[in-house]
Amino acid sequence: MNDSDRDIVDILAGLTLFGDLNRPQLEAVAHTFDEEWFSEGQRILRQGFTGTGFFVILEGEAAVRIDGVDRATLGKGDFFGEISILLGEPPVADIVALRPLRCLVLGGPDTEPFLNSYPRVMYRMLQAQARRLRNASQWRS
């Protein structure tokens, strides 16, 4: 018996995406997602491949790589994979672990039901997407 059980729930409690959830809900989230590790250099999402998943980074760093060029870096609290799920299209970028990456993962088909069950998480996701869009220099306000 060890304390790293609390560990995931504690990490989740500190992430903006889950910032509006109470403790039992955070535990439910920890039980809903699977934990996966990726070694440095490993690809997590592959440009053009089918197969969806929603990933939330707990530790480590990943690059968003498009056509071989690193466009962005993702770290603790960042998430990816949801755009492919929501739009029903394969990823347009590779996501590659730059350092050993610890993620929580939810399968594609489970992701929309999850967001529907936790509208506050959906809202936080919406906020993050709006910020991403703004950073991508869209002129729409």
Partner: protein, 142 residues
């Protein structure tokens, strides 16, 4: 020329963002939306301001301007402002009436309340933002 409640609801029902909503939700939005008239040349929204609401153009047209550059023109049924309401960051462009223009305005707090009460609307906004993100990335690739 004021719009009737039904006319408002019909206009809102034609907006892409609200397509997923049923009649009751549309009526709620219609109730919370106020009509605002803008003469030609008047700023509907200003670059650098923190967004105060969502606007739907009912009649007329408006130019989207950043500095000296005109980016596009909005017409009836087009909407804007939702991103600013969500991330509360300053607008990156101004929206100026090109002719006498009637808008339906939904205040920021009303729009957030609508998102809270209508998961379908929240999902529609999420999909809209995500589709635009994907389009931006595609743009980078080519």
């Amino acid at each position: 020329m004021a719009l009737s409640r039904q006319e408002k609801a019909r206009l809102l029902g034609g907006v892409d963002l609200f397509l997923a909503l049923g009649p009751r939700a549309l009526a709620t939005i219609a109730r919370r939306a106020t009509e605002v008239e803008f003469p030609a040349g008047r700023y509907i929204a200003r670059q650098g301001e923190v967004g105060s609401g969502v606007f739907v153009i009912a009649r007329g047209s408006a130019r989207v301007v950043r500095g000296d550059e005109e980016l596009t023109v909005f017409g009836p049924g087009d909407f804007f402002g939702e991103l600013s309401v969500i991330d509360r960051a300053p607008r990156v462009a101004s929206v100026v009436a090109a002719e006498p223009t009637l808008c339906l305005a939904i205040a920021a707090w009303d729009f957030l309340a609508l998102l809270d009460e209508n998961p379908k609307l929240m999902k529609a906004v999420l999909l809209e933002v995500v589709a635009r993100l994907r389009a931006t990335i595609e743009h980078i690739r080519h």
